[in-house]
């Protein structure tokens, strides 16, 4: 699905990703944890194609294609989805209208006819039920005036609508209350299937109780310094990052 080799990226001359290696197979769920400022959001932004970052080295293969060579919109149309840590507001544009545009742009890219308005609404209604989304949110301006938790739920709803092959969730659990966390996790679990992979960035083991990952990686100073299975997250919950930091410093 996604194969990252020796990925290095910098911003304004400052190196942030220092050689990332990661291999995600179809159907797998990978969790990335790590202290603040480690480069987690940077990794997701680079994968999504944000052009503020300069990729200085490395290759990324996404479903047999050179990901770094594609425009951000083409990456999305090929099936890459990023749930933003800080979703953006677009005043005056409803989630409905936004998603209709997004879906039809993707269909155009794939050489398909635009979706009929009625089919789209039907599709959306079924996804809203599945994700337990409230009607009032989808008719309002996208993310405008949404609470932190509502924004995150809206990201997951968009993911459900766009049916990506690889979904990157950047701290989607932050800011969610306990019920919302359960809903969001249930939503993600419903979307899990053998052809869809997830890269879940989180600070909290709590989320991983609901979305049980196949692998857990620790990102520190722009490198993956430790990988393991779900139990690694539990260990981190208890011990924090200091022991890993020490291991890294000792190795230098």
């Amino acid at each position: 699905m996604l194969k990252i080799e020796n990925l290095k990226a910098s911003i304004e001359g400052k190196s942030i990703l220092n050689g990332i290696n990661l291999d995600i197979k179809p159907g797998e769920v990978h969790a990335i944890m790590g202290p603040n400022g480690a480069g987690k959001s940077t990794l997701s932004a680079v994968l999504a194609g944000r052009n503020d970052y300069e990729v200085t080295e490395g290759v990324v293969d996404f479903l047999g294609k050179d990901l770094l060579d594609m425009s951000p919109e083409d990456r999305a149309r090929e099936g890459l989805f990023l749930a933003f840590q800080y979703p953006i507001e677009i005043p005056g544009v409803s989630t409905t209208n936004f998603l209709k545009t997004a879906i039809n742009e993707k269909r155009k890219y794939l050489g398909l006819e635009p979706m009929e308005a009625t089919d789209f609404l039907k599709f959306m209604r079924s996804k809203m039920e599945e994700m337990e989304m409230d009607k009032s949110l989808t008719s309002r301006s996208l993310n405008e005036g949404f609470s932190g938790g509502e924004k995150k739920r809206n990201e997951v709803f968009q993911m459900a609508m766009l049916e990506p092959k690889l979904a990157i969730l950047d701290e989607t659990d932050s800011g969610l209350d306990i019920d919302a966390l359960r809903l969001v996790s249930a939503g993600v679990n419903k979307l899990r299937n053998p052809d869809r992979s997830f890269l879940v960035i989180t600070h909290y083991q709590r989320l991983l109780d609901y979305i049980v990952p196949d692998f857990v990686h620790v990102l520190y100073k722009g490198r993956i310094v430790k990988s393991g299975d779900a139990s690694l997250a539990k260990e981190l919950e208890v011990k924090g990052y200091d022991w890993i930091k020490q291991e890294v410093e000792a190795a230098v």
Binding site: G49, R50, D52, S71, A76, L162
Partner: protein
């Protein structure tokens, strides 16, 4: 602004104006220049009664003594008023009774503009008056309107057929002494639309005038007069285009609206005159005086405008709220790109008690264009409990464009309530990235964001036109960003 955005701005540069063609048709024109003889010539062409000619001459003599205004927030090359042709009309018999008599070239022209004058293809529910250079070509649905007593015709026709109404109301809202361009228009106005809605009648369809400047070196000076009698309602739309030409052309129209007691007039404009090329060569100077009066109690006038074209737009559709409890509204979207300039806004003059006004202005500037909102809210001494709400939002695309707001307030009665809100935003890289991450490409993203920004105003337009306006916004901003 960060690097990447600049890159993309430079990348996408082409902007096409798809209405830039010229119709090849035999014209009857006045000689260039302006003097009393030209005024007489125009009046004679229209076979006008003496009183109309007198009015024109008075306006002309007054105009001669006036100075061109210079308080605007932009510069434009001096206009040589002797270098303009003030009358140009397709050579054709004057009284047209049926569309069969209209030159096929003209029908084709309007067809190409998406305005069909032929029975079978007409937009249902919209009656159209088509004005080509200085004359009205055809008015559709006349018969159906007549049944309700609605008069919708060329103003030159109204001068002959409804002289009492014209005499009573023409110049009653915008006197020729009002301003330089109003005086000029009063002297040389060629054609335009006349509307009268009788007492208690709800006009059964949208009325629409489509203005087309075709001839070279010609100015367009149309005159529109709309009277809504007590308790009546009308929704009126105005659209316009012009060929691409290297020289600037002057458009100085006057629009007067009169709403009597409990009457409502909704006036919408989708302005798409040729804006000039990327460097600012050519394009229409759009200097228009539009004003409405709520003459009676509970009357209401709403202006909605979507301004995308013209090299320079300089207009302030205004409301005089004379009747108690009357309402004035102004909804505006002004888009400027490349070297365009727009200085637009409104005046709300509160005279009656409990009068209300609402202003929603959305300015979008791209390229190196300038977009100004200029508005006056005036509350007279006797206007007890007047209310105004003003909202001015500007959106900048790129970092070479400018947005300016000049809100003027004059309150002479302390029971008035005025609220003002203003904001300036930029289409952010964040918003564009967010869209692109969902698979939405750049141009589509801009159009989505801009349409969202203007939503409140676009919602005011009748359905068919809202869709048109949305497309127009996208086209106007093509190549602007970002």
């Amino acid at each position: 602004m960060s690097e990447p955005e600049v890159d993309i701005i430079d990348q996408v540069v082409s902007q096409e104006y798809k209405y830039g063609f010229v119709t090849d048709i035999e014209m009857d024109t006045a000689p260039k220049g302006l003097n009393e003889d030209i005024v007489r010539f125009i009046s004679a062409k229209k076979n006008e009664p003496e009183w109309m000619l007198e009015y024109r001459l008075k306006a002309f003599r007054y105009w001669l003594k006036m100075e061109e205004p210079n308080w605007q927030n932009f510069n434009y090359p001096k206009i040589n008023y002797q270098d303009i042709i003030y009358y140009a009309a397709p050579k054709q018999k004057i009284a047209l009774d049926s569309l069969d008599q209209v030159d096929p070239e003209l029908l084709k022209t309007f067809e190409k503009l998406g305005i069909s004058l032929l029975e079978q293809k007409r937009l249902t529910g919209v009656a159209v008056d088509a004005v080509f250079d200085s004359v009205s070509i055809a008015t559709t649905f006349k018969e159906q309107l007549k049944e309700k007593g609605v008069i919708f015709c060329a103003i030159s026709e109204a001068v002959h057929k409804h002289p009492d109404l014209v005499k009573k109301y023409l110049s009653s809202v915008v006197p020729y002494t009002d301003n330089y361009f109003a005086a000029l228009n009063s002297a040389v106005f060629s054609d335009g639309s006349f509307v009268y809605i009788p007492k208690g009648v709800r006009c059964p369809m949208e009325l629409s005038t489509y203005f087309r400047i075709n001839a070279e070196n010609t100015g367009q000076f149309e005159r529109t007069l709309i009277i809504a009698d007590e308790g009546s309602y009308v929704s009126y739309l105005e659209g316009c285009t012009a060929p691409m030409r290297d020289e600037n052309q002057l458009h100085a129209a006057v629009v007067e609206l009169i709403a009597l007691e409990k009457a409502e007039i909704k006036y919408s404009t989708v302005q798409n005159w040729y804006p000039g090329d990327k460097e600012g060569k050519g394009g229409i100077y759009n200097f228009v005086t539009k004003r409405g009066i709520c003459e009676g109690a509970y009357a209401k006038i709403s202006w909605t405008q979507v301004e995308t074209g013209s090299a320079i737009t300089w207009k302030y559709p205004s409301c005089i709220l004379k009747g108690d409890y009357s309402t004035g509204e102004f909804f505006s979207v002004a888009v400027t790109n490349n070297a365009q300039v727009a200085d637009t806004g409104t005046k709300m003059i509160h005279i009656g008690k409990h009068t209300k006004s609402r202003i929603v202005s959305k300015g979008i500037s791209a390229g190196k264009s300038h977009n100004s909102y200029r508005g006056l809210v005036k509350v007279n001494k006797k206007a007890e409990h007047a209310r105004n709400y003003t909202q001015c939002d500007s959106m900048l695309i790129g970092d070479r464009s400018g947005a300016h707001t000049f809100p003027y307030i004059e309150v002479n009665n302390n029971t008035a309530t005025l609220e003002h809100e203003a904001s300036t935003s930029k289409i952010g890289e964040d918003q564009i990235f967010y869209c692109s991450q969902r698979g939405i490409g750049l141009e589509e993203a801009i159009s989505l964001i801009v349409n969202g920004f203007c939503k409140e105003v676009l919602n005011q337009l009748p359905m068919e036109f809202a869709v048109e306006a949305q497309k127009l916004l996208a086209v106007s901003l093509e190549g602007s960003v970002g």
